[in-house]
Protein backbone atom coordinates (compact mmCIF):
# COMPACT_ATOMS: atom_id res chain seq x y z
CA UNK A 1 0.00 0.00 0.00
CA UNK A 2 1.47 3.32 -1.00
CA UNK A 3 2.39 6.15 1.28
CA UNK A 4 -0.80 8.10 1.56
CA UNK A 5 -1.36 10.73 -1.03
CA UNK A 6 -1.90 13.90 0.90
CA UNK A 7 -2.74 16.32 -1.87
CA UNK A 8 -6.39 16.27 -0.92
CA UNK A 9 -5.42 17.06 2.65
CA UNK A 10 -3.70 20.31 1.77
CA UNK A 11 -6.98 22.16 1.53
CA UNK A 12 -7.72 21.26 5.10
CA UNK A 13 -4.53 22.48 6.68
CA UNK A 14 -5.05 25.31 9.08
CA UNK A 15 -2.69 28.14 8.22
CA UNK A 16 -0.52 25.70 6.26
CA UNK A 17 0.52 24.09 9.51
CA UNK A 18 0.02 20.37 9.72
CA UNK A 19 0.32 20.38 13.51
CA UNK A 20 -2.41 22.92 14.11
CA UNK A 21 -5.62 21.08 15.02
CA UNK A 22 -9.09 21.88 13.79
CA UNK A 23 -11.53 22.73 16.53
CA UNK A 24 -14.29 20.18 16.84
CA UNK A 25 -17.26 19.85 19.15
CA UNK A 26 -18.39 16.74 20.96
CA UNK A 27 -22.04 16.24 19.96
CA UNK A 28 -22.90 12.98 21.63
CA UNK A 29 -21.27 10.50 23.96
CA UNK A 30 -22.21 6.83 23.98
CA UNK A 31 -21.16 4.43 26.73
CA UNK A 32 -20.09 1.31 24.88
CA UNK A 33 -18.71 -0.64 27.80
CA UNK A 34 -17.75 0.26 31.37
CA UNK A 35 -14.42 1.63 30.13
CA UNK A 36 -15.10 2.53 26.51
CA UNK A 37 -16.97 5.45 25.02
CA UNK A 38 -17.80 6.59 21.52
CA UNK A 39 -17.76 10.30 20.84
CA UNK A 40 -19.68 11.88 18.00
CA UNK A 41 -18.03 15.08 16.90
CA UNK A 42 -18.23 17.72 14.27
CA UNK A 43 -16.15 20.59 13.01
CA UNK A 44 -16.73 23.95 14.55
CA UNK A 45 -16.03 25.44 11.13
CA UNK A 46 -19.19 24.58 9.23
CA UNK A 47 -17.35 24.75 5.90
CA UNK A 48 -15.34 21.70 6.83
CA UNK A 49 -18.38 19.59 7.70
CA UNK A 50 -19.53 19.36 4.14
CA UNK A 51 -16.50 17.88 2.58
CA UNK A 52 -14.19 16.42 5.15
CA UNK A 53 -12.59 13.51 3.31
CA UNK A 54 -11.33 10.34 4.94
CA UNK A 55 -11.07 6.64 4.31
CA UNK A 56 -12.10 3.80 6.56
CA UNK A 57 -9.09 2.75 8.60
CA UNK A 58 -7.53 6.19 8.78
CA UNK A 59 -6.94 7.86 12.09
CA UNK A 60 -6.83 11.29 13.61
CA UNK A 61 -4.90 13.02 16.37
CA UNK A 62 -7.26 14.19 19.06
CA UNK A 63 -6.28 16.71 21.66
CA UNK A 64 -7.57 18.18 24.82
CA UNK A 65 -5.78 21.48 25.12
CA UNK A 66 -3.60 21.44 28.17
CA UNK A 67 -3.58 17.67 28.48
CA UNK A 68 -2.18 16.47 25.20
CA UNK A 69 -2.79 14.62 22.00
CA UNK A 70 -3.32 10.98 21.03
CA UNK A 71 -4.22 9.03 17.92
CA UNK A 72 -7.50 7.13 17.52
CA UNK A 73 -9.04 5.68 14.42
CA UNK A 74 -12.18 7.22 13.01
CA UNK A 75 -14.82 4.65 13.89
CA UNK A 76 -17.62 5.99 11.71
CA UNK A 77 -17.90 5.34 8.00
CA UNK A 78 -17.25 8.00 5.35
CA UNK A 79 -20.51 6.82 3.76
CA UNK A 80 -22.59 7.81 6.74
CA UNK A 81 -23.58 10.85 8.71
CA UNK A 82 -22.42 14.40 8.50
CA UNK A 83 -20.41 13.87 11.64
CA UNK A 84 -17.45 11.79 12.72
CA UNK A 85 -17.03 9.29 15.52
CA UNK A 86 -14.17 7.92 17.51
CA UNK A 87 -14.09 5.35 20.21
CA UNK A 88 -11.82 5.44 23.23
CA UNK A 89 -10.94 3.02 25.94
CA UNK A 90 -9.89 4.57 29.21
CA UNK A 91 -6.24 3.60 29.74
CA UNK A 92 -4.07 6.69 30.18
CA UNK A 93 -4.06 10.36 31.04
CA UNK A 94 -5.55 11.67 27.81
CA UNK A 95 -8.14 8.91 27.49
CA UNK A 96 -9.15 9.52 31.09
CA UNK A 97 -9.54 13.19 30.34
CA UNK A 98 -11.60 12.39 27.24
CA UNK A 99 -13.89 10.30 29.38
CA UNK A 100 -14.42 13.25 31.67
CA UNK A 101 -15.72 15.39 28.78
CA UNK A 102 -19.36 16.13 28.31
CA UNK A 103 -21.42 17.02 25.26
CA UNK A 104 -20.52 20.45 23.92
CA UNK A 105 -16.87 20.18 24.85
CA UNK A 106 -14.42 21.55 22.35
CA UNK A 107 -11.37 19.51 21.44
CA UNK A 108 -8.69 19.52 18.77
CA UNK A 109 -8.61 17.19 15.82
CA UNK A 110 -6.12 16.82 13.03
CA UNK A 111 -6.12 14.25 10.30
CA UNK A 112 -7.02 12.07 8.65
CA UNK A 113 -3.70 10.27 8.69
CA UNK A 114 -2.50 6.87 7.58
CA UNK A 115 -3.35 4.79 4.58
CA UNK A 116 -6.78 3.34 5.38
CA UNK A 117 -8.14 0.04 4.15
CA UNK A 118 -7.47 -0.84 0.49
CA UNK A 119 -11.07 -0.79 -0.76
CA UNK A 120 -10.08 -1.64 -4.32
CA UNK A 121 -8.51 -4.87 -3.08
CA UNK A 122 -11.71 -5.85 -1.35
CA UNK A 123 -14.09 -5.37 -4.25
CA UNK A 124 -15.81 -8.52 -5.54
CA UNK A 125 -14.36 -10.46 -2.63
CA UNK A 126 -15.86 -12.43 0.21
CA UNK A 127 -15.00 -10.48 3.31
CA UNK A 128 -14.23 -11.99 6.69
CA UNK A 129 -14.06 -9.48 9.53
CA UNK A 130 -12.42 -10.72 12.72
CA UNK A 131 -12.45 -8.34 15.66
CA UNK A 132 -11.85 -8.40 19.38
CA UNK A 133 -12.93 -5.81 21.94
CA UNK A 134 -12.34 -2.22 20.91
CA UNK A 135 -10.61 -3.60 17.79
CA UNK A 136 -14.03 -3.42 16.18
CA UNK A 137 -13.76 0.38 15.97
CA UNK A 138 -11.70 0.63 12.75
CA UNK A 139 -13.47 -2.38 11.24
CA UNK A 140 -16.84 -0.84 12.02
CA UNK A 141 -16.00 2.06 9.75
CA UNK A 142 -15.17 -0.40 6.99
CA UNK A 143 -18.17 -2.64 7.65
CA UNK A 144 -20.65 0.22 7.29
CA UNK A 145 -18.75 1.38 4.23
CA UNK A 146 -19.12 -2.07 2.69
CA UNK A 147 -22.78 -2.38 3.66
CA UNK A 148 -23.50 0.97 2.05
CA UNK A 149 -21.95 -0.32 -1.18
CA UNK A 150 -23.25 -3.83 -0.69
CA UNK A 151 -23.37 -4.84 -4.35
CA UNK A 152 -19.64 -4.27 -4.77
CA UNK A 153 -18.79 -7.07 -2.35
CA UNK A 154 -19.67 -10.75 -2.01
CA UNK A 155 -20.32 -12.63 1.23
CA UNK A 156 -19.68 -10.97 4.53
CA UNK A 157 -18.72 -12.81 7.72
CA UNK A 158 -18.24 -10.90 10.94
CA UNK A 159 -16.71 -12.68 13.90
CA UNK A 160 -16.58 -10.44 16.91
CA UNK A 161 -15.70 -11.22 20.46
CA UNK A 162 -15.03 -9.54 23.77
CA UNK A 163 -14.03 -10.61 27.24
CA UNK A 164 -17.58 -10.51 28.56
CA UNK A 165 -21.03 -9.49 27.30
CA UNK A 166 -20.54 -6.13 28.99
CA UNK A 167 -17.34 -5.57 27.02
CA UNK A 168 -18.99 -5.85 23.62
CA UNK A 169 -18.76 -2.53 21.79
CA UNK A 170 -21.27 -1.11 19.34
CA UNK A 171 -24.11 -3.34 20.54
CA UNK A 172 -26.53 -1.24 18.45
CA UNK A 173 -24.55 -2.06 15.31
CA UNK A 174 -24.20 -5.70 16.22
CA UNK A 175 -28.00 -5.90 16.38
CA UNK A 176 -28.31 -4.36 12.93
CA UNK A 177 -25.75 -6.61 11.37
CA UNK A 178 -27.31 -9.62 13.04
CA UNK A 179 -30.66 -8.77 11.43
CA UNK A 180 -29.06 -8.19 8.03
CA UNK A 181 -29.67 -11.37 6.01
CA UNK A 182 -26.72 -10.66 3.75
CA UNK A 183 -24.28 -10.84 6.65
CA UNK A 184 -23.20 -13.81 8.69
CA UNK A 185 -22.74 -12.25 12.11
CA UNK A 186 -21.16 -14.29 14.90
CA UNK A 187 -20.71 -12.78 18.33
CA UNK A 188 -18.77 -14.50 21.07
CA UNK A 189 -17.48 -13.76 24.56
CA UNK A 190 -14.56 -15.23 26.45
CA UNK A 191 -16.75 -15.68 29.49
CA UNK A 192 -20.54 -15.43 29.54
CA UNK A 193 -22.87 -14.34 32.30
CA UNK A 194 -26.38 -15.28 33.42
CA UNK A 195 -28.12 -13.48 30.60
CA UNK A 196 -25.70 -14.40 27.82
CA UNK A 197 -27.25 -16.89 25.40
CA UNK A 198 -24.73 -16.57 22.58
CA UNK A 199 -21.46 -18.27 21.91
CA UNK A 200 -18.68 -18.58 24.42
CA UNK A 201 -15.09 -18.94 23.24
CA UNK A 202 -12.05 -17.01 22.14
CA UNK A 203 -12.22 -15.30 18.79
CA UNK A 204 -9.58 -17.46 17.06
CA UNK A 205 -11.37 -20.65 18.20
CA UNK A 206 -14.71 -19.39 17.02
CA UNK A 207 -13.13 -18.37 13.75
CA UNK A 208 -11.92 -21.93 13.32
CA UNK A 209 -15.41 -23.27 14.06
CA UNK A 210 -17.11 -20.87 11.68
CA UNK A 211 -14.43 -21.74 9.14
CA UNK A 212 -15.13 -19.19 6.41
CA UNK A 213 -13.79 -20.20 3.04
CA UNK A 214 -10.59 -18.61 1.85
CA UNK A 215 -11.80 -18.81 -1.68
CA UNK A 216 -11.81 -15.36 -3.27
CA UNK A 217 -11.79 -13.96 0.26
CA UNK A 218 -9.95 -11.36 2.30
CA UNK A 219 -9.82 -11.46 6.07
CA UNK A 220 -9.57 -8.21 7.97
CA UNK A 221 -8.57 -8.63 11.60
CA UNK A 222 -8.22 -6.14 14.41
CA UNK A 223 -7.95 -6.67 18.11
CA UNK A 224 -5.52 -6.98 20.99
CA UNK A 225 -2.06 -8.28 19.96
CA UNK A 226 -2.66 -11.60 21.64
CA UNK A 227 -5.78 -12.18 19.57
CA UNK A 228 -4.01 -11.18 16.35
CA UNK A 229 -1.14 -13.54 17.08
CA UNK A 230 -3.58 -16.47 17.35
CA UNK A 231 -5.84 -15.38 14.52
CA UNK A 232 -3.29 -15.40 11.70
CA UNK A 233 -2.38 -19.09 12.15
CA UNK A 234 -6.07 -20.02 12.13
CA UNK A 235 -6.61 -18.04 8.94
CA UNK A 236 -3.60 -19.73 7.42
CA UNK A 237 -5.06 -23.09 8.37
CA UNK A 238 -8.28 -22.10 6.64
CA UNK A 239 -6.29 -21.49 3.50
CA UNK A 240 -5.84 -17.73 3.60
CA UNK A 241 -2.54 -16.56 2.11
CA UNK A 242 -0.61 -13.77 3.84
CA UNK A 243 -1.78 -11.45 1.06
CA UNK A 244 -5.38 -12.26 1.97
CA UNK A 245 -4.97 -11.19 5.58
CA UNK A 246 -5.19 -7.56 6.58
CA UNK A 247 -4.76 -5.97 9.97
CA UNK A 248 -4.30 -2.56 11.46
CA UNK A 249 -1.53 -1.89 13.95
CA UNK A 250 -1.27 0.31 16.98
CA UNK A 251 1.84 2.05 18.30
CA UNK A 252 2.68 4.93 20.51
CA UNK A 253 2.49 7.96 18.25
CA UNK A 254 2.96 11.67 18.68
CA UNK A 255 3.07 13.46 15.35
CA UNK A 256 0.99 11.05 13.25
CA UNK A 257 2.91 11.99 10.11
CA UNK A 258 6.18 10.08 10.20
CA UNK A 259 8.41 12.63 11.86
CA UNK A 260 8.56 12.15 15.60
CA UNK A 261 10.16 8.74 15.18
CA UNK A 262 8.62 6.31 17.66
CA UNK A 263 6.08 4.21 15.74
CA UNK A 264 8.51 2.60 13.33
CA UNK A 265 8.78 -1.05 12.54
CA UNK A 266 11.98 -1.33 10.63
CA UNK A 267 11.97 1.49 8.12
CA UNK A 268 8.19 1.73 8.02
CA UNK A 269 6.19 4.10 10.14
CA UNK A 270 2.84 2.85 11.31
CA UNK A 271 1.45 6.37 11.08
CA UNK A 272 2.74 7.09 7.60
CA UNK A 273 2.94 3.70 5.90
CA UNK A 274 0.13 2.08 7.90
CA UNK A 275 -1.74 1.59 10.11
CA UNK A 276 -3.25 -0.96 7.70
CA UNK A 277 -0.89 -3.71 6.62
CA UNK A 278 -1.26 -7.08 4.99
CA UNK A 279 0.14 -10.00 6.90
CA UNK A 280 2.49 -10.47 3.97
CA UNK A 281 4.03 -7.11 4.82
CA UNK A 282 4.17 -7.75 8.54
CA UNK A 283 5.75 -11.14 8.35
CA UNK A 284 8.42 -9.67 6.12
CA UNK A 285 9.15 -6.90 8.56
CA UNK A 286 12.68 -7.23 9.66
CA UNK A 287 11.60 -6.30 13.13
CA UNK A 288 9.66 -8.41 15.58
CA UNK A 289 8.58 -5.28 17.37
CA UNK A 290 4.99 -5.10 16.24
Amino acid sequence: MPVSDISYRKRFLTKDNVYLPHLVMIEKIIDETPDTRTFHFNFKDKGLREEFPFKSGQFGEYSIFGIGEAPFCISSSPTRYDRLEFTVRRVGSLTNALHRLSVGAEIGFRGPYGNGFPLDLLEDKNLVFVAGGIGLAPLRSLIWNVIDNRDKYKNIDIIYGARSPADLCFKYDLKNWDKDKSINMVTTVDKGDKTWKGRVGFVPQVLEEVAPSADNAVAIACGPPIMIRFTFPVLAKLGFTPEQMITTLEKRMKCGIGKCGRCNIGNLYVCRDGPVFTYAQIKDFISDEY
Binding site: F65, G258, R262
Partner: protein
Protein backbone atom coordinates in the same frame (compact mmCIF):
# COMPACT_ATOMS: atom_id res chain seq x y z
CA UNK B 1 37.09 33.48 -8.05
CA UNK B 2 37.83 33.28 -4.36
CA UNK B 3 37.84 35.86 -1.66
CA UNK B 4 39.58 35.97 1.66
CA UNK B 5 39.20 37.72 4.96
CA UNK B 6 41.67 38.52 7.67
CA UNK B 7 40.99 36.81 11.01
CA UNK B 8 41.24 40.21 12.64
CA UNK B 9 38.23 41.35 10.64
CA UNK B 10 35.93 38.51 11.68
CA UNK B 11 34.41 40.50 14.54
CA UNK B 12 33.67 43.39 12.24
CA UNK B 13 32.25 41.02 9.66
CA UNK B 14 29.92 39.47 12.23
CA UNK B 15 28.86 42.91 13.43
CA UNK B 16 28.01 43.81 9.87
CA UNK B 17 26.12 40.60 9.23
CA UNK B 18 24.31 41.16 12.50
CA UNK B 19 22.51 44.08 10.93
CA UNK B 20 20.68 41.79 8.55
CA UNK B 21 20.69 38.48 10.38
CA UNK B 22 20.52 37.07 13.82
CA UNK B 23 24.08 35.79 13.79
CA UNK B 24 25.05 32.70 15.75
CA UNK B 25 28.66 31.81 16.39
CA UNK B 26 30.53 29.35 18.58
CA UNK B 27 30.43 30.37 22.20
CA UNK B 28 31.34 28.94 25.55
CA UNK B 29 28.84 29.48 28.29
CA UNK B 30 29.40 28.00 31.75
CA UNK B 31 31.93 25.65 30.23
CA UNK B 32 29.54 24.32 27.61
CA UNK B 33 30.27 25.02 23.98
CA UNK B 34 27.29 25.97 21.87
CA UNK B 35 26.21 28.37 19.16
CA UNK B 36 25.02 31.59 20.73
CA UNK B 37 23.82 34.86 19.35
CA UNK B 38 26.72 37.08 18.38
CA UNK B 39 26.79 40.07 20.67
CA UNK B 40 29.95 41.66 19.40
CA UNK B 41 32.01 40.37 22.35
CA UNK B 42 35.08 39.00 20.62
CA UNK B 43 36.12 36.43 18.10
CA UNK B 44 38.24 34.42 20.53
CA UNK B 45 36.25 31.33 19.55
CA UNK B 46 38.58 31.16 16.57
CA UNK B 47 41.27 30.08 19.03
CA UNK B 48 39.45 27.34 20.89
CA UNK B 49 36.62 26.26 18.63
CA UNK B 50 36.89 22.67 17.44
CA UNK B 51 33.27 21.68 17.59
CA UNK B 52 30.50 22.47 20.04
CA UNK B 53 28.78 20.17 22.51
CA UNK B 54 25.41 21.55 21.45
CA UNK B 55 25.32 21.32 17.67
CA UNK B 56 24.01 24.19 15.56
CA UNK B 57 21.01 21.99 14.78
CA UNK B 58 19.62 23.50 17.97
CA UNK B 59 19.05 26.73 16.04
CA UNK B 60 16.71 24.91 13.65
CA UNK B 61 15.23 22.29 15.90
CA UNK B 62 15.58 23.70 19.40
CA UNK B 63 15.58 21.48 22.45
CA UNK B 64 12.03 22.63 22.88
CA UNK B 65 9.85 25.03 20.99
CA UNK B 66 6.34 26.33 21.13
CA UNK B 67 4.10 24.94 18.40
CA UNK B 68 1.15 27.13 19.20
CA UNK B 69 -0.55 28.68 22.17
CA UNK B 70 -4.18 28.41 23.10
CA UNK B 71 -6.62 30.21 25.28
CA UNK B 72 -10.26 29.82 25.98
CA UNK B 73 -13.01 32.38 26.18
CA UNK B 74 -16.78 32.42 25.77
CA UNK B 75 -16.53 31.44 22.11
CA UNK B 76 -14.28 28.51 22.86
CA UNK B 77 -10.65 27.88 22.10
CA UNK B 78 -8.40 30.12 20.08
CA UNK B 79 -5.12 28.86 18.71
CA UNK B 80 -2.22 31.08 17.89
CA UNK B 81 0.98 30.28 16.04
CA UNK B 82 4.29 31.73 17.22
CA UNK B 83 5.64 34.69 15.24
CA UNK B 84 7.53 33.93 12.02
CA UNK B 85 11.19 33.15 12.38
CA UNK B 86 14.02 35.65 12.12
CA UNK B 87 16.57 35.55 9.36
CA UNK B 88 19.49 33.73 10.85
CA UNK B 89 23.08 33.15 9.94
CA UNK B 90 25.14 30.42 11.52
CA UNK B 91 28.78 31.33 11.40
CA UNK B 92 31.35 28.60 11.73
CA UNK B 93 29.27 25.49 11.22
CA UNK B 94 31.44 22.43 10.58
CA UNK B 95 30.88 20.34 7.44
CA UNK B 96 29.64 17.41 9.56
CA UNK B 97 26.96 19.53 11.20
CA UNK B 98 25.94 21.07 7.89
CA UNK B 99 25.61 17.63 6.37
CA UNK B 100 23.52 16.62 9.35
CA UNK B 101 20.99 19.32 8.51
CA UNK B 102 20.82 18.06 4.95
CA UNK B 103 20.12 14.62 6.39
CA UNK B 104 17.27 15.66 8.66
CA UNK B 105 15.78 17.84 5.92
CA UNK B 106 14.68 14.56 4.35
CA UNK B 107 12.44 13.69 7.24
CA UNK B 108 11.00 17.12 7.71
CA UNK B 109 10.21 17.38 3.99
CA UNK B 110 8.84 13.87 3.67
CA UNK B 111 5.12 13.61 2.81
CA UNK B 112 4.06 16.47 5.08
CA UNK B 113 6.13 19.63 5.30
CA UNK B 114 7.18 20.39 8.84
CA UNK B 115 6.57 24.13 9.10
CA UNK B 116 8.61 24.81 12.23
CA UNK B 117 11.84 23.27 11.03
CA UNK B 118 11.54 24.18 7.37
CA UNK B 119 10.72 27.85 8.00
CA UNK B 120 13.83 28.21 10.09
CA UNK B 121 15.86 26.23 7.61
CA UNK B 122 14.73 28.41 4.73
CA UNK B 123 15.62 31.54 6.63
CA UNK B 124 19.03 30.42 7.85
CA UNK B 125 22.29 30.94 6.04
CA UNK B 126 25.15 28.63 6.80
CA UNK B 127 28.71 29.87 6.79
CA UNK B 128 30.95 26.86 7.10
CA UNK B 129 34.32 26.82 8.75
CA UNK B 130 36.76 24.10 7.76
CA UNK B 131 37.80 21.88 10.62
CA UNK B 132 41.56 21.78 10.98
CA UNK B 133 41.81 20.21 14.40
CA UNK B 134 39.35 17.31 14.51
CA UNK B 135 38.82 15.24 17.64
CA UNK B 136 40.07 11.71 18.03
CA UNK B 137 36.39 10.75 18.15
CA UNK B 138 35.62 12.22 14.72
CA UNK B 139 35.03 9.90 11.77
CA UNK B 140 33.47 12.16 9.14
CA UNK B 141 35.81 10.97 6.38
CA UNK B 142 34.32 7.49 6.65
CA UNK B 143 30.97 8.93 5.67
CA UNK B 144 32.30 10.59 2.56
CA UNK B 145 32.80 13.99 4.14
CA UNK B 146 35.78 16.23 4.17
CA UNK B 147 36.45 18.15 7.39
CA UNK B 148 37.15 21.26 5.34
CA UNK B 149 34.79 21.11 2.41
CA UNK B 150 31.04 21.01 2.18
CA UNK B 151 28.29 21.30 -0.34
CA UNK B 152 25.76 21.79 2.45
CA UNK B 153 26.71 25.35 3.37
CA UNK B 154 26.27 28.67 1.62
CA UNK B 155 29.81 29.89 2.18
CA UNK B 156 32.85 27.90 3.14
CA UNK B 157 35.85 29.28 4.99
CA UNK B 158 39.24 27.61 5.15
CA UNK B 159 41.97 28.57 7.61
CA UNK B 160 45.10 29.67 5.77
CA UNK B 161 47.05 31.16 8.67
CA UNK B 162 46.13 34.75 9.42
CA UNK B 163 43.28 34.68 6.99
CA UNK B 164 40.37 32.58 5.84
CA UNK B 165 39.87 31.65 2.22
CA UNK B 166 36.20 32.07 1.30
CA UNK B 167 34.31 30.06 -1.28
CA UNK B 168 30.72 30.64 -2.24
CA UNK B 169 28.91 27.33 -2.43
CA UNK B 170 25.39 28.47 -3.25
CA UNK B 171 23.73 31.43 -4.92
CA UNK B 172 22.78 32.68 -1.51
CA UNK B 173 26.46 32.54 -0.65
CA UNK B 174 27.42 34.51 -3.76
CA UNK B 175 24.86 37.19 -2.92
CA UNK B 176 26.16 37.39 0.62
CA UNK B 177 29.75 37.84 -0.54
CA UNK B 178 28.72 40.66 -2.85
CA UNK B 179 27.32 42.79 -0.10
CA UNK B 180 29.94 42.05 2.51
CA UNK B 181 32.81 44.38 3.33
CA UNK B 182 36.26 43.37 4.62
CA UNK B 183 36.87 40.84 1.84
CA UNK B 184 39.93 40.74 -0.35
CA UNK B 185 40.71 38.92 -3.53
CA UNK B 186 42.47 35.62 -2.84
CA UNK B 187 45.74 34.91 -4.57
CA UNK B 188 47.10 31.72 -6.04
CA UNK B 189 49.28 31.24 -2.99
CA UNK B 190 46.22 31.51 -0.77
CA UNK B 191 44.55 28.79 -2.73
CA UNK B 192 47.47 26.45 -2.53
CA UNK B 193 47.71 27.18 1.20
CA UNK B 194 44.07 26.16 1.47
CA UNK B 195 44.75 22.99 -0.48
CA UNK B 196 47.49 22.10 1.91
CA UNK B 197 45.30 22.86 4.96
CA UNK B 198 42.56 20.61 3.59
CA UNK B 199 44.97 17.78 2.91
CA UNK B 200 46.36 17.97 6.41
CA UNK B 201 42.97 18.17 8.05
CA UNK B 202 41.67 15.07 6.30
CA UNK B 203 44.68 13.08 7.39
CA UNK B 204 44.00 14.08 11.00
CA UNK B 205 40.68 12.22 11.03
CA UNK B 206 41.87 8.79 12.03
CA UNK B 207 38.83 7.00 13.35
CA UNK B 208 37.22 4.74 10.77
CA UNK B 209 33.79 3.35 10.16
CA UNK B 210 33.44 0.81 7.39
CA UNK B 211 30.21 1.73 5.64
CA UNK B 212 30.58 -0.85 2.90
CA UNK B 213 27.41 -2.96 2.82
CA UNK B 214 26.66 -1.61 6.27
CA UNK B 215 22.89 -1.68 5.83
CA UNK B 216 23.08 -5.24 4.56
CA UNK B 217 25.32 -6.33 7.38
CA UNK B 218 22.93 -4.80 9.90
CA UNK B 219 20.00 -6.46 8.24
CA UNK B 220 21.65 -9.84 8.53
CA UNK B 221 22.59 -9.17 12.16
CA UNK B 222 19.19 -7.87 13.07
CA UNK B 223 17.92 -10.98 14.78
CA UNK B 224 21.15 -11.75 16.60
CA UNK B 225 19.87 -11.00 20.08
CA UNK B 226 23.10 -12.17 21.74
CA UNK B 227 25.06 -9.63 19.78
CA UNK B 228 22.72 -6.78 20.62
CA UNK B 229 22.62 -7.74 24.28
CA UNK B 230 26.38 -7.83 24.40
CA UNK B 231 26.93 -4.45 22.78
CA UNK B 232 24.20 -2.80 24.80
CA UNK B 233 25.10 -4.10 28.22
CA UNK B 234 27.15 -1.09 29.28
CA UNK B 235 24.73 1.46 27.83
CA UNK B 236 22.96 3.37 30.59
CA UNK B 237 20.01 4.38 28.40
CA UNK B 238 20.56 8.08 28.88
CA UNK B 239 19.69 10.47 26.10
CA UNK B 240 23.09 12.09 25.55
CA UNK B 241 24.04 10.43 22.27
CA UNK B 242 20.64 11.02 20.74
CA UNK B 243 19.68 14.42 22.12
CA UNK B 244 23.06 15.87 21.18
CA UNK B 245 23.33 14.09 17.84
CA UNK B 246 22.97 16.53 14.95
CA UNK B 247 21.14 13.92 12.87
CA UNK B 248 18.69 12.84 15.56
CA UNK B 249 15.41 14.64 15.18
CA UNK B 250 12.85 12.62 17.18
CA UNK B 251 10.53 14.70 19.27
CA UNK B 252 7.79 14.55 21.81
CA UNK B 253 4.70 16.74 21.87
CA UNK B 254 3.23 17.95 25.14
CA UNK B 255 1.05 20.67 26.55
CA UNK B 256 1.57 23.15 29.29
CA UNK B 257 -1.47 24.65 30.90
CA UNK B 258 -1.58 27.60 33.23
CA UNK B 259 -5.14 28.32 34.24
CA UNK B 260 -7.05 28.78 30.98
CA UNK B 261 -4.05 29.54 28.83
CA UNK B 262 -1.43 27.22 27.60
CA UNK B 263 0.88 26.12 24.87
CA UNK B 264 1.70 23.02 22.96
CA UNK B 265 5.41 22.34 22.81
CA UNK B 266 7.59 19.90 21.10
CA UNK B 267 10.82 18.82 22.66
CA UNK B 268 13.66 16.50 21.85
CA UNK B 269 12.98 12.87 22.60
CA UNK B 270 15.18 9.83 22.57
CA UNK B 271 14.76 6.22 21.50
CA UNK B 272 17.00 5.35 24.44
CA UNK B 273 14.16 6.01 26.86
CA UNK B 274 11.75 3.13 27.51
CA UNK B 275 8.87 5.59 27.74
CA UNK B 276 9.48 6.63 24.12
CA UNK B 277 7.49 3.67 22.79
CA UNK B 278 5.48 2.88 25.88
CA UNK B 279 1.80 2.20 25.35
CA UNK B 280 -0.66 1.69 28.18
CA UNK B 281 -0.65 -2.08 27.90
CA UNK B 282 2.68 -2.93 26.33
CA UNK B 283 6.00 -1.64 25.15
CA UNK B 284 7.59 -2.99 21.98
CA UNK B 285 11.04 -1.77 22.98
CA UNK B 286 11.11 -2.32 26.70
CA UNK B 287 14.43 -4.17 26.67
CA UNK B 288 17.60 -2.14 26.46
CA UNK B 289 19.06 -4.18 23.59
CA UNK B 290 16.03 -3.45 21.47
CA UNK B 291 16.44 0.27 22.03
CA UNK B 292 20.13 0.17 21.23
CA UNK B 293 19.37 -1.87 18.12
CA UNK B 294 16.77 0.68 17.08
CA UNK B 295 19.21 3.54 17.47
CA UNK B 296 21.95 1.84 15.47
CA UNK B 297 19.68 0.43 12.79
CA UNK B 298 17.73 3.62 12.37
CA UNK B 299 20.87 5.52 11.52
CA UNK B 300 22.70 3.02 9.38
CA UNK B 301 19.97 0.81 7.97
CA UNK B 302 16.43 2.22 8.03
CA UNK B 303 17.36 5.77 7.12
CA UNK B 304 19.36 4.72 4.06
CA UNK B 305 16.44 2.45 3.09
CA UNK B 306 14.06 5.41 3.17
CA UNK B 307 16.23 8.31 2.07
CA UNK B 308 19.38 6.84 0.56
CA UNK B 309 21.63 8.52 3.07
CA UNK B 310 23.13 7.27 6.33
CA UNK B 311 21.80 9.29 9.23
CA UNK B 312 25.23 10.02 10.62
CA UNK B 313 27.82 12.57 9.64
CA UNK B 314 30.64 11.29 11.80
CA UNK B 315 30.79 14.27 14.16
CA UNK B 316 31.75 11.94 17.00
CA UNK B 317 29.65 13.63 19.69
CA UNK B 318 28.03 10.35 20.68
CA UNK B 319 31.48 8.91 21.40
CA UNK B 320 32.97 11.99 23.05
CA UNK B 321 30.07 12.74 25.33
CA UNK B 322 29.06 9.23 26.37
CA UNK B 323 29.52 8.70 30.11
CA UNK B 324 30.54 5.08 29.54
CA UNK B 325 32.49 5.52 26.28
CA UNK B 326 30.05 3.49 24.21
CA UNK B 327 31.58 3.75 20.75
CA UNK B 328 29.44 3.34 17.67
CA UNK B 329 32.45 2.73 15.42
CA UNK B 330 33.51 -0.20 17.58
CA UNK B 331 30.01 -1.60 17.67
CA UNK B 332 29.64 -1.50 13.92
CA UNK B 333 33.10 -2.96 13.43
CA UNK B 334 32.09 -5.89 15.62
CA UNK B 335 28.93 -6.82 13.68
CA UNK B 336 28.81 -10.60 13.55
CA UNK B 337 27.80 -10.74 9.92
CA UNK B 338 30.45 -9.68 7.47
CA UNK B 339 29.36 -9.37 3.89
CA UNK B 340 32.16 -10.35 1.57
CA UNK B 341 33.19 -7.87 -1.09
Amino acid sequence: MNQKISKKDISKLLDELGKEFKVFSPSRESGVTTFAEWDGRDSSFLEWYRNTVISPKAQLQPLYEKMFSFHKDKEGYHLELPPPTDKKLIFGIRPCDAKALMIIDKTFQDTYQDPYYLDKRKNTLLVGLGCTNPYDSCFCTSLGLSPTQSSDVDLMLTDIGDEFLIEAVTDRGIKLIKKTSYLKEATKTDKSKAEEARRQASSKVTRRLDTKDLAKRLLSSFDDQDFWEKVSNKCISCGICTLLCPTCYCFDISDELVKKEGSRFRSGDSCAFPVYTKMPMENPRLEKWRRVRQKVCHKYEFYPMSFEVIACSGCGRCIRLCPVNWDITQILASLPVKVKA
